[in-house]
């Protein structure tokens, strides 16, 4: 039925099967949309946020998806600026994942604000001192860049490509993609950094606060770095998942290994920097504000925020995957590589989690206790909403667009069309 839309030389499941799959994911999406509408019309009382948790699950999801979407800018940077030409076989997918991540982030932000009708004030009445302003501007701009990067892929659809105008447009756009990659990298550096700055500048919150360079706290650089390290890991992670779902090899091992190797070295250097930062913070920054390291990790109900969380983030999901990806022997093993990138992805999420949630959980006033928080179903549904949306967009893109240039070569169809 839709075979005319499907790229040449590849095999796709039947339309019925596909429709069923979309319907299932679509149901989840609708559940999320319902929750979103509740939040819009009844207000944010639908969430379990409170005056101690002004930032919660949504902001974490925002920070996490943006970090994981960092694969787009970093792979682009490697491909177009540093000339790692091999990565052209995965760049499409990296861009798509980035596009999904960033559009999701914008969507979540639009739900998160108390007065969505006034959300444009962030641009119109911008306060240049605010990290969030920087985030909003760079995020929006970079989302524009990602759209421009994604559009050529859409235009490569068999039917669209038949029109000369679009065919030429695609060609020309490819020609200037390096410029966009550079712009994207520049913008990403700043908004990934400013997201790090979001908690790093909070000098009223000793858990989040970091000293830094000029106006930028150390978390500014750590975030950019970790996004560059974990973003590609997430691209590899999703690629692997896609391969598992489609039961096909989609990207050659050499490409995957190259990206994994670069990500590994990024992760290793990042984690060293993170450890130095943590030690300096624990030994110098926080004590100067009257709190010791154990004030941040002890005495809380159910040990939800025990030292384990630091060990998990820096050790199990930081040092360990870094070493695994750097060591050629382990890296070349697909299963070990998959474990490593998965750990790295969890590590990035965990880092964003503590930098959003734990910052607010830790009591700062001496006569207050720890603050607990458990998201409401509306928050969870609206957070799953972009996941469902992402799956649908990936499914559609995979089905109708030549996302994986090596797919045809890796999965030859008998008789060919």
């Amino acid at each position: 039925m839709d075979s005319a839309l499907i790229p040449k030389g590849v095999k796709r499941c039947s339309i019925g099967q596909f429709a069923l799959w979309i319907a299932v994911v679509g149901a989840v999406l609708l559940w999320g949309v319902w929750a979103m509408l509740l939040c819009y019309f009844r207000g944010l009382n639908q969430t379990n946020m409170n005056n101690a948790y002004g930032f919660a699950l949504w902001i974490w999801a925002d920070l996490a998806v943006i970090a994981l979407g960092g694969g787009a800018f970093f792979t682009g940077l490697l491909r177009y600026i540093f000339g790692k030409d091999e990565l052209k076989h995965i760049i499409n997918y990296a861009v798509l994942i980035g596009f999904i991540c960033y559009s999701s982030a914008l969507l979540i932000l639009a739900i998160d604000v108390g007065q969505p009708l006034r959300a444009w004030f962030i641009f119109w009445h911008a306060n240049v001192h605010s990290m969030l302003t920087e985030v909003a501007f760079c995020l929006t701009c970079y989302f524009g860049v990602l759209t421009i990067e994604y559009v050529p892929l859409v235009l490569e659809n068999r039917q669209i490509d038949r029109l000369p105008f679009f065919h030429n447009l695609t060609h020309n756009m490819h020609g200037i993609m390096a410029l966009f990659a550079a712009t994207g990298a520049f913008l990403s550096f700043f908004h990934q950094g400013s997201l790090g700055g979001v908690s790093g500048v909070l000098y009223g919150r000793p858990f989040g606060f970091r000293t830094g360079l000029l106006v930028w706290p150390w978390t500014f650089f750590l975030y950019t770095w970790s996004a560059a390290a974990c973003g590609p890991c997430f691209t590899l992670f999703i690629t692997r998942i896609t391969e598992m779902a489609t039961c096909k090899k989609l990207v050659k091992d050499s490409v995957v290994e190259l990206l994994a190797k670069i990500a590994g070295w990024m992760l290793l250097t990042y984690i060293v920097a993170k450890i130095i930062d943590t030690v300096y913070w624990a030994a110098v920054t926080a004590p100067a504000m009257g709190l010791t390291l154990m004030d941040f990790y002890s005495n809380n109900p159910g040990s939800a925020y025990g030292l384990w969380i630091l060990i998990a983030e820096v050790g199990v999901c930081g040092v360990l995957p870094a070493v695994m990806l750097v060591a050629p022997g382990i890296r070349s093993n697909p299963s070990m590589r998959f474990i490593a990138v998965t750990l790295a992805v969890i590590g990035a999420c965990l880092n964003r989690w503590v930098m959003v949630l734990q910052v607010q959980a830790v009591p700062v006033l001496p006569f207050e206790g720890w603050f607990g928080y458990m998201p409401s179903w509306q928050e969870i549904a609206t957070t799953i909403l972009p996941v469902a949306y992402g799956i649908i967009l990936i499914s559609l893109s995979y089905r109708y667009l030549p996302v994986f240039p090596q797919e045809q070569e890796l999965n030859p169809i008998e008789g060919g069309k």
């Binding site: 946020m49 002004g54 108390g114 001192h129 000098y203 009257g290 006569f367 206790g369």
Partner: protein, 269 residues
């Protein structure tokens, strides 16, 4: 508009914890003055809007050595470094600002679009979000004060040292042809109402004002109090607040700045 007059004011408070009885009159005076909404169930203090909150502090000792102290907490009106209070610089839409001429951190709910970054930034939990639409039971909207705008759902609000009273006091002064306010002409609702007289309000920059005389702010050290009985909440964060507390008890003074062993005081939701 003090266009000719260059000298700036720094309105601040001195709250004598030895006098404070924890009665809560300041909270209600504030709510009535500032059109603070209330809900059928306002017992979850983390969902409730109360610009002024009286905390109950304990010395953490068992019966019968236990001691208690009550600490009213309005907005601390942090000056931070050169007006960069923790919350002001983070607001993306310039909905909050630090006014160098009065030292007050303003909050404009109609500009705010509810991102809540300022709430995450404030260590004093001074900033509160309107999770619900403010609803007054039929007829009770008649008690609303026209000098303070009612906040809508989805925005952050906080204490602004009853700034509308400053506006009204200056109006009167202007009509009389004066530019300067006398001490006491501008008072916050809590200071006015406190039946124990525990809250003093005035210009910390003015050596003739009681608040200056009592707190003795050390301008060379970010306003640190020179009065040995005085302290500020979380002094070491460098928030440079304009609310000074007085206590003759050492454990209270230490509790104000994370210098005592932490003890679980009140359960949190």
């Amino acid at each position: 508009m003090d266009q000719q007059n260059g000298n700036t004011k720094k309105y601040g408070m001195v709250i004598d914890l030895d006098k404070c009885t924890g009665c809560g009159a300041c909270m209600v005076a504030c709510m009535a003055e500032n059109n603070v909404p209330f809900r059928e169930d306002d017992t979850d203090k983390l969902l409730s809007v109360s610009w002024m909150r009286v905390y109950r502090l304990g010395n953490g000792k068992p019966f019968p050595q236990v001691e208690e102290c009550y600490l009213p907490r309005p907005c601390q009106q942090c000056e931070g470094h050169a007006g960069h209070s923790p919350c002001v610089s983070v607001c993306p839409a310039t909905a909050t600002d630090y006014d160098m001429r009065t030292g007050i951190v303003s909050q404009i709910p109609t500009r705010c679009f509810g991102c809540r970054y300022c709430m995450a930034a404030c260590p004093y939990h001074v900033r509160q979000f309107n999770w619900w639409d403010p609803i007054w039971p039929d007829g009770m909207e008649r008690m609303l004060n026209p000098n303070v705008s009612v906040r809508m759902r989805g925005v952050v609000e906080k204490c602004g040292f009853c700034f509308h009273r400053y506006q009204l006091a200056t109006d009167k002064a202007y009509l009389d042809g004066r530019r300067e306010l006398e001490e006491g002409e501008y008072q916050t609702a809590c200071a006015q109402a406190c039946p124990a007289g525990a809250i003093l309000f005035g210009d910390l920059n003015n050596p003739t004002h009681a608040v200056h005389k009592i707190a003795q702010p050390d301008s060379t050290h970010g306003g640190r109090p020179r009065n040995p009985k005085a302290f500020r909440l979380l002094e070491r964060l460098g928030t440079n607040p304009k609310v000074y507390y007085l206590s003759s008890k050492e454990w209270v003074r230490k509790a104000g700045d994370n210098q005592v062993q932490r003890t679980e005081q009140t359960p949190k939701a």
